[in-house]
Amino acid sequence: MIAAAIIALLITLALTLIRAFLGPNIYDQILAVNSFGTKTVLLIVVGGHALGWFSYVDIALMYALVNFVGTLAVMRFFEQYNPQGEQS
């Protein structure tokens, strides 16, 4: 069953990637990239357990945090850059 979960996650990653390429607007792409990040965390947890990667939990924890910071940074700088919004 764990193999099935891994394969489901890999297919999910591929589909999310297609959305990240297609767009159509930048918010869709931010959403897809963030979603890709969370799916990677899940892949690390499930794959790490199945394949016995060493200390995979630490790395998954780290990924979850980095993904959060990264997505916030994208939105923050995009807002600051956007000429419509006030430069803060």
Binding site: A3, A14, A20, I26, T40, D58, I59, V69, V74, E79
Partner: protein
């Protein structure tokens, strides 16, 4: 079955890498290209994990996917995000690239098959390092042992390179000066959620710093994680308030202090007639000396990386803030 899973993950991730790189090449919006580069780093780190390189995966995730993306976004804010699509193709360039690629692929036919235990790389140095780590240093993580002790000179050089990169960015951009002011458009949800997150990130950074001898981690990773906690604070609560928490004046001094801790640890062994960076001299028991040396050196690296990373971030976000 397990070997097949390894293979499936390996092939899928490599395919993702090619797709992402291709998309990053094609898009004209540089914001999107930077985000795609962020997930490129994520996938690379996942691949490292599958290839047994736990420490490298850790570093790539923290540095490549986290800090590098934030930095590029901060630079894009200053330099403009749309690429001029007019001149983007070069027939000569394509020709050179295809030629070089073909030559290199021809060259790979001489490479050993991946995972071959009798390949030339595996026979020299690596077995000695693994055996010596068990015998002389007695910490589980061979990578940390090689990094901090056997190849300590090398790591010292890298730390100095990072320090000088920080100094170069400081000279180019300056630190700027940002007054704290209330952010009008920030949402309360973000404030409430982010506060415990910052504490969590800082604690996790300390854990990575001191757990590096036993599992994945060490000074390089911990420094970046600790800095990203402060970066998160600055992103959500505003640049000026972050500079109240960690003053910008203190950072160059902290970076220098980190390099100094490393250097002084090396000099200490010179005092007792041992070579530079030979930690056996630090204590009467050689193994305890090694442990002490590695902890000190990792602390120096962590401090230097933390303050340099934060320094670079401050430099980028401080530009143009007063206008």
């Amino acid at each position: 079955m397990i070997e097949n899973l390894h293979l499936i993950i390996d092939v899928c991730l490599l395919a993702f890498l090619v797709l992402i790189a291709f998309a990053a090449m094609k898009v004209t919006n540089l914001f999107v290209a930077t985000m795609l580069f962020g997930i490129f780093s994520f996938v690379t780190a996942l691949l490292f994990l599958d290839l047994d390189a736990v420490d490298v995966a850790f570093t790539e995730a923290a540095v490549g996917a986290g800090f590098s993306t934030v930095l590029m976004l901060a630079a894009l804010r200053l330099s403009g995000a749309v690429e001029n699509a007019k001149h983007r193709h070069s027939a000569l360039g394509l020709f050179i690239v295809v030629l070089t690629g073909a030559a290199l692929i021809y060259g790979t036919s001489d490479f050993p098959i991946m995972g071959d235990a009798n390949a030339p790389v595996q026979l020299h140095l690596a077995p000695e390092f693994i055996a010596l780590t068990q015998e002389k240093i007695d910490i589980p993580n061979v990578v940390t042992a090689v990094l901090a002790s056997f190849r300590g000179y090398d790591t010292f050089g890298e730390t100095v390179v990072i320090f000088s990169a920080g100094v170069a960015v400081l000279l180019l951009l300056g630190m700027g000066h940002v007054e704290p002011k209330n952010e009008p458009e920030q949402s309360t949800v973000l404030w409430v959620v982010v506060k415990p997150f910052i504490a969590l990130i800082l604690i996790f950074g300390l854990y990575v710093q001191f757990h590096g001898d036993f599992g994945a981690g060490g000074g390089f990773q911990a420094g970046v994680i600790f800095a990203s906690g402060i970066i998160l604070y600055s992103l959500v609560f505003g640049e000026g308030y972050a500079r109240k928490v960690v003053p910008s004046k203190i950072l160059p001094r902290l970076a220098a202090l980190g390099v100094l801790i490393y250097g002084v640890t090396g000099l200490a062994s010179l005092l007792s007639d041992k070579p530079f960076l030979d930690y056996n001299a630090l204590s009467s028991n050689p193994i305890a000396g090694q442990h002490m040396g590695i902890i000190l050196v990792e602390a120096g690296v962590g401090l230097a990386v933390f303050s340099t990373v934060l320094l670079i971030f401050y430099s980028f976000s401080g530009v143009n803030h007063n206008e």
